[in-house]
């Protein structure tokens, strides 16, 4: 439509003419049509409001309102409009006779935008309508911008609230994309093997959803999604029925869509998904809508990347949680976690503790007693491992192996191991007493050694352990074997590392299995006779 004699600034609008006098309606409608607008007529206020509130018909841009009408007059209409948030912004031009200026003032006070003399002058009509239309368009543009911002914020809020729930994120993205890009149907496909499958959809019938779900799409020129996957760019098809390469699939018949747009959801340069929007009428997606859709596809990409990250973290956490203290599990669930699991060489302190007389005890006690004791022993030591931030390598019967300085770095790893050993021994005094009363002598022996070891994932698919290989580990195990009941033995390197922090004394040289020469051994004296921990605060300061 081109307004005759229009200056280009006056775009056509849909104008509601509310007047009970047929002559006036007919004349105004004719003049409006002549200006390129689309008139809609109402005989009184009630009919006008009914038309304005009818969601099934195209919306009105400007209202031309007569004041004196039966049923519901102009004032009542203005009051109703003012109270209706959906209609409040609509510009109202009051039609008034020259003898009704008092009424005009009242109407302007009630929110009318302008007035028009009843003795119609086409030039004035044109100018007033153009000015109100511009006002309405500005309002619409603002509201659209607010809507888009709100929808985008909503998706972002959902993403931050359920960052790792891909389904929730994709559902929100597709819903917002369909609404804001004025599509009839939208689907987010994600790559699964060699085909793109429906991950989320909005606006479709159950039949269409079912059809799309049952028909994964492979890259190729015969479908929109296939083409996007193939070339990794935004593809628009203005009318599928005019597109030579597009195979009108049964899906098109089910959905009845005509205009399509597909946006790649990219991850590291690969098309890991496609956001597709369709319209059931032939109406190309505009530049603004295209830009919006690209924004939504980017949000979907972030959602997919987050979900994948979570998957990796969960997998690693699953592998690690069994043998790491919570702090360490957290640390390893980082992007570097995979590298840590792969293997690395590091100086560690290994602590090995096992029970004296355990074999005798397990033979003489009832099995239930043995299990009950082990549970308590493991729980006690387990909580101390967590408290001292050690890495539990394994529980094997009465033997427990704990590392320090891996995977989390600990400057005071040797002292930590010694302090944990003393704590185990202290707790064991009570446990030992209790069992002594039942006739069993159970005492703990602990060995600690410091040195380089290769740490990482050991084992096979489905049954991995985090462990290490190195002399220090073997040495700790041998020292634990050497330790008498209640004794904590240190290797030379551990002794040197804890010097000044934990009181210890030489305990001679021992010939240990697997070591060619006799090894110097040291015994922790602190804690055994009352002169317990030396300078706890000093070590804490040193560690920080």
């Amino acid at each position: 439509m081109t307004p005759p004699g229009g200056n280009g600034a006056s775009l056509p609008g849909r104008i509601l003419v509310v007047d009970d006098t047929p002559f006036n309606r007919q004349l105004l409608a004719r003049l409006l049509r002549g200006l390129g607008h689309e008139p809609v007529e109402a005989v009184d206020g009630r009919q006008a409001l009914a038309r304005l509130r009818d969601a099934d018909v195209p919306p009105i841009d400007v209202i031309l309102l007569d004041i004196v009408m039966p049923e519901m007059d102009g004032y009542q209409v203005l009051a109703e409009l003012r109270d209706d948030p959906a209609l409040r912004h609509l510009p109202v031009i009051v039609i008034s006779g020259v003898d009704e200026l008092d009424s005009v003032v009242r109407c302007l006070e009630m929110g009318a935008a302008d007035y028009l003399p009843k003795t119609v002058d086409p030039a004035i009509l044109k100018a007033r309508i153009a000015s109100s239309l511009a006002r309405k368009r500005l309002h619409d543009a603002e509201r659209e911008a607010v809507d888009r911002q709100a929808a985008s914020n909503e998706v972002l809020a959902i993403m931050s609230r359920s960052a790792f729930d891909l389904q929730v994120v994709l559902d929100a993205v597709v819903r917002a994309a369909v609404r804001l890009c004025r599509a009839d149907y939208g689907v987010a496909y994600t790559l699964d093997g060699d085909a793109y499958r429906v991950a989320a959809s909005a606006g479709g019938t159950p039949e269409l959803d079912a059809w799309e779900r049952d028909h994964p799409i492979r890259p190729g020129r015969d479908s929109l999604v296939g083409r996007v996957a193939l070339i990794g760019q935004v593809i628009s098809v203005d009318d599928v029925l005019d597109d030579r390469e597009y195979q009108a699939t049964p899906g098109q018949h089910v959905g009845g869509y005509r205009t399509l747009i597909g946006i790649p959801i990219e991850e590291d340069g690969a098309v890991s998904g496609v956001l597709a929007l369709t319209r059931n009428e032939v109406r190309a997606f505009g530049d603004g809508e295209r830009a919006l859709a690209i924004g939504f596809a980017e949000q979907a990409a972030i959602g997919i990347a987050n979900a994948r990250l979570l998957e990796t973290i969960e997998r690693q956490r699953g592998q690690l949680a069994r043998f790491l203290s919570p702090q360490v599990a957290q640390l390893v669930s980082s992007p570097e976690g995979e590298a840590l699991l792969a293997g690395h060489r590091r100086e560690i302190t290994a602590m090995f503790c096992d029970l004296r007389n355990f074999t005798t005890f397990s033979e003489s006690a009832e099995p239930e007693e043995v299990l009950g004791f082990l549970r308590r022993y493991h729980a006690t030591v387990g909580s101390l491992v967590v408290e001292h931030e050690g890495t539990l390598e394994h529980f094997a019967g009465d033997g427990i192996m704990v590392f320090f300085n891996d995977p989390a770095f600990q400057d005071d790893h040797a002292a930590r191991a010694a302090r944990m050993a003393m704590a185990v021994r202290e707790r064991f005094v009570d446990i030992g007493d209790e069992w002594r009363r039942r006739g069993h002598v159970l005492q703990v022996g602990i060995g600690i050694a410091t040195g380089y070891a290769t740490m990482g994932r050991i084992g096979f698919e489905g049954r991995y352990d985090y462990g290490g290989v190195g002399n220090a580990i073997i040495l700790a195990s041998r020292l634990s074997g050497e330790a008498a009941a209640g004794e904590i033995l240190l290797s030379q390197r551990t002794f040197a590392a804890v010097d000044g922090q934990v009181a210890a004394e030489p305990a001679g040289e021992r010939q240990l299995k697997g070591f060619s020469r006799p090894m110097p051994v040291f015994r922790v004296t602190a804690g055994s006779g009352g002169d317990l921990v030396v300078a706890e605060t000093a070590t804490a300061a040193e560690a920080s």
Partner: protein, 120 residues
Amino acid sequence: MSAPIDQAVWTNLIEMTGGDVEFVDDLVDTYLADGERQVAALREAAAGGSADDLVRPAHSLKSSSLNVGALDLGALCRALEESARTGKVPDATQQVTAIATGFDEVRSALLAERAERAAG
């Protein structure tokens, strides 16, 4: 009394519609049909003695009459509308009769114009 239809307004009406006389004829038909309804409503209101009931038909006939160029008739309607709004119209029947007569004159003038145009 001057001519029932003001020539300047009438010409303006023709111009506004872009010289579409067919549309103007339709418009006149609408005016006449609605005008008859309003005159009937005025008569009824005057007979019933209700000033309130005079307001709307007087108002309606006023605005369309002014637009069609029937300025005198429009003035009669305006006077009646204004007094009806005050709630008291002692000479309602006389005023309505004057309006009815004025409307008949306007109708005759409009139909004569049409016949003249058809002949010319």
